[in-house]
Structures are given as C-alpha cells and as structure tokens.
Symmetry: C2
Subunit: 304 residues, 2 copies
C-alpha cells in the first residue's frame, strides 16, 4: 500500500562522543521513507539542490521509494543541518542550519500520488504541510502529522490550523506540554485531541511512547539499549515505521495503531545503533521480526 | 505469608503545590508495610520516640501489621522529615531532617520474626540493614534491599558490602548510574548484578521501572496520571507492594518477579493520589484489582 510522505531530503553532519561524519544523507523525509519502506511503498514529496548526489536518490529508489515528487533545483543547494551531541546523548547543539532550497519550497503532489489513502506530514513548516493536504482531491483516509517546538515558537496560529486538519499528531513530551500548556501528559493529550487529532502520540525518547485515543491509553516502551550511537532521525524513523505499518494494513483501528507504535519503536531502536541512516538502509525482515519480539517480551506478563 | 520489613516509622510534613500537611505518619517502614499488607503479613523492625501517637501504631495493627519489632524510646523523639515539592513535582527541597531516635538505632529482630523467608531492607543505613540480615539464624529465601544516593555519598564501602549479601536491589535510575559509573541503564544493571544481587530493579519514577535478571529485561510502565498530588513514599510503596506480592506467592521466579513489579507499580500509583499514606491506608481488593487491569491494558497488544 502507498504512503505519501512529505519531508526534507537533506545533508546531515553529525558529531557524537563516538565519532563524527562528513555530509551524509539525512532529513526527515529520508528517515521516514526508508523506515516506511519496510512495510509500505513510500511516495516522497520534497526538494533537493543540484549538489545532491545521484547515488542518494538511487539509494531511495532501491528501497522501492517513489521519488517522482522530489523536485531537483539545479541552481540551488540542498538543506544542510549539522549538530553535536553531548555526552549523555539526550541533548545536542545545532552547529549549522542552512535551509537553502527548503527556504522557498512549495510542495507539488504528483498526479500519481493524489489518490493515496495514507499521508504522513513530516516535520516541516505547517504551511507546507497544509499545502500537501490541499492538493489531495479526495480527503485521505488517514493524515499523520509530525511537528516540533520550533513551529510553536514562530507560527503557532498556522500550526494549530494544520493540526486541526489531521487524524494523528506525533510530538514529544516537552512539545506536548508547550502546545497544551499542561504538565500532565494525560491532560496535555486531552487538550490536543480537542484541537482536532483523534489520535495523539507523545514520544518520550528513551522512555518510550504513549498513544492516546478517546479515553484509552497505550504505552510502548523504548528498547533499553546498551549503547546509543547516534539519535539523529530516531523520531522520524519512528513516525515512518508507524505510518508504513498502518498503510500496509490499510485498516484504521486502535489495535492496529498500537502495533504501528511498536513497529515504529522497533525501527527507531535500530536507527540509533549507527550514524544517520546507515543501519536502517539495510535491515532484513528477520532482523525486524526478532526486534519486534523483543518488544513483546519486554512488556509481557501474566498477572495472577 | 510473613514479610520482615526494616525501615523508618516517622513523622513527615509535606508541602506541594496543592497544599501542606502538619506532622503526619510517614517513613519508609510505614509506606512499605502498609503497601505490603494488601498481600502479606508485614513484621516491622523499627524505632519511634515517646512522642509517637498510639493511634499511629494502632493504624498499623489494624492493617494486620506485626509491630512487635518497633522499639519505643520513651525519652527520645521520633525521626522527622519535612520537604517541599517544586511545581513539576519531580524535584523537592528537604526543609528539615531530624534523625532523633534513628541516630542511634540498633535493630532488634524479635524471635518470632527470625524464621521469616522474605525480608525487605527499606532505605536506611547499610550498616543497620546488615545488622538485620545478621540476626537471621537461617539465610532467608529472598532478601530485597532498597537504598538511595545518600548512602553512596557517605558510606560506599559499607553499602557495597550489604549489596553483596542481597538477592534484589531496588534503586532509581540516577542512583544506578552513580553506583555503577555507567550511563546506560542496561550496562549499569549488569555491573550491579556483578556486585551480588541476581535481580536489579531500576525505578524511573513517572517513566516506570525496569527489572533485570540474567540477560532478561522486563519493563513495567508507570500509570500515566492526570494529577500527581504528593509523590512522598511512592518508591517505598512500590517496594512494599513488590515484596508483599512475592511473599504471598512464596515462590521466586522471573514470572512472579514481573507480576510483583506490576503489583508494586499499581500500589505506587495510588500512593501519589493523596498526601502521605492517606490513600494507601484504605484500599479495597477490588480497587487494587481494577488498577492492576489498567496496567495490563496499558501495555497489551497483539502484534501481527
């Protein structure tokens, strides 16, 4: 099943206590579509500059990712982000943000994507996210939106307008608190549900993720890891795995949503094991299924 | 089944954003034995001063708690702690710590407790904890130990000696990191297992608890709550519920340990709903069983 993804396809340069990279392939759209490709066929809406290597586009194609919707601006440069993680790996400094071709990005949804039922709006300006929704002639079955505090700081009105149009909102705990003005995540999720999304996912990083639907709550832990090598893209990988799983099932239910959260968490647990997209570029079905069983084991008990 | 508990029986005065209390009944031994009383028969080893009201001792007795091991020092005062929580309820300032009769406390295990199979060493000086173990003529089936960073700071050698004698160590995430010198909780637990305890429980407060045994990991979430009224005693309540459950089953297995973590988490989720011991003083079996089902629901999924 197809999954329409909008998100940045970009260059990242990452420094962690374990080492550093040159400019490598990055961007929310990249992590999302690679992760989703293990369950569904992603169709990417994005933009890159003339400096973006053809081999990176080939890499996406090899994962059965449709790149027709990636605009190539020959005379411009690709979005570039560089960051350095602190020793605890839970915080980072942004060293460089060059928006480049992303600054004037107007998404164009190709004709062949326009009847796709599942849409994932990766973290981008809420205006760009909305432009994607508005190009769909028929309302998709499910619209999932990822965002971050940056948009709350600079365009809260636009953000809320886009949030009101989606079915699932995925944000982290601090962002949920900022958006709702509530400290309790339960109360925060309730307030966000009133803004539009029927489903709210609150990501707590190494502490797992909460899924809220009506008055139900599901909790998926993160896999306790001996070593986190590079957290870059873990949230996007989670969202990609989550949306890819749902697109592959085609049916929307709380039970499927729960499994989708587990599938996304499993993929995110791979992502942090190597730099950038390295690990999620080559996963086998068997590896993924073993990892999912680890999540099953982690929380399984039989109370008597 | 009996559960021998050593821990402070004391006065607390608590201030939270929701209000403040006068001197009320508190102390690790109190929270532990009240919580454990819902599954087992606690036998308390502790000390109070002549100022400790008889009605508080009666309260313990009404919960079928054996108080023969509580020494009453008529001419001394009871241990008193006072603290004030910050707005996020995750941090607090200690306003007063008066050790009083606890300062010279030498535990005495009554004859009638000496063949008890399950022992919980509540957070106290590791020397006092060890004195309890040494008074047991036969090695108990299971010794559970709770501790805190304070003892790591001032008597690490004594602490490690006591840790080497127990089966289960229960500490929080920051303490596990301090004790092991490892940031990753998985690596930290492995190092602590090498210090003696076969089972290590790492409490993460609102983020749940991890149980480590051999190379297995079990994760129990905390119940997402709309409101935390007063976190005082939640860790002790967890430990009491955990140990009480195990004592009630009599059999030590990883499966029982997992259920014990869930039972402890359920009781801790009640504890924070009111000031001090107020909520865990009067729980019905039905309330507890409904709360446990909430934990079951929270993490149940059926991956396909």
């Amino acid at each position: 099943m197809n999954l329409l993804v909008v998100g940045s396809v970009a260059f990242d340069a990452i420094e962690t206590p374990f080492g550093k990279t040159d400019k490598i392939i990055g961007g929310a759209g990249t992590f999302i579509s690679l992760a989703a490709s293990y369950a569904a066929k992603p169709q990417v809406v994005s933009v890159v500059g003339g400096d973006f290597p053809n081999e990176y586009l080939e890499l996406l194609k090899q994962h059965n990712i449709d790149i027709e919707g990636i605009q190539i601006k020959k005379d411009e440069k690709t979005f570039f982000w560089s960051g350095k993680y602190h020793n605890d790996m839970n915080s980072r400094d942004t060293l460089v943000t060059e928006l480049n071709c992303l600054e004037t990005f107007v998404p164009v949804v190709p004709k062949s994507y326009q009847d796709t039922d599942f849409v994932l709006l990766g973290n981008l300006s809420p205006v760009v996210q909305r432009q994607v929704i508005e190009q769909m002639p028929k309302r998709p079955k499910l619209i999932i939106m990822d965002t971050m505090n940056f948009w709350m700081d600079i365009m809260l009105g636009e953000l809320k307008r886009t949030i009101s149009m989606v079915d699932v909102l995925s944000i982290n705990d601090e962002e949920a608190r900022q958006l709702s003005g509530e400290y309790s995540l339960v109360t925060a999720a309730k307030k966000i549900q009133k803004m539009g999304p029927k489903y709210v996912i609150i990501k707590k990083g190494e502490h797992g993720a909460l899924l809220f639907f009506e008055d139900k709550i599901f909790f998926a832990p993160a896999l306790p890891l001996e070593e986190v090598f590079d957290p870059t893209g873990a949230g996007d990988t989670f969202a990609g795995g989550f949306a890819g799983y749902l697109a592959s099932k085609g049916e929307i239910s709380f039970e499927n949503m729960k499994n989708a959260v587990v599938f996304g968490s499993a993929l995110a647990s791979f992502c942090v094991e190597k730099f950038g997209t390295e690990k999620i570029q080559k996963l086998s079905e068997k590896e993924i299924s073993i990892r999912v069983s680890k999540f099953v084991d982690l929380v399984s008990f039989n109370f008597k």
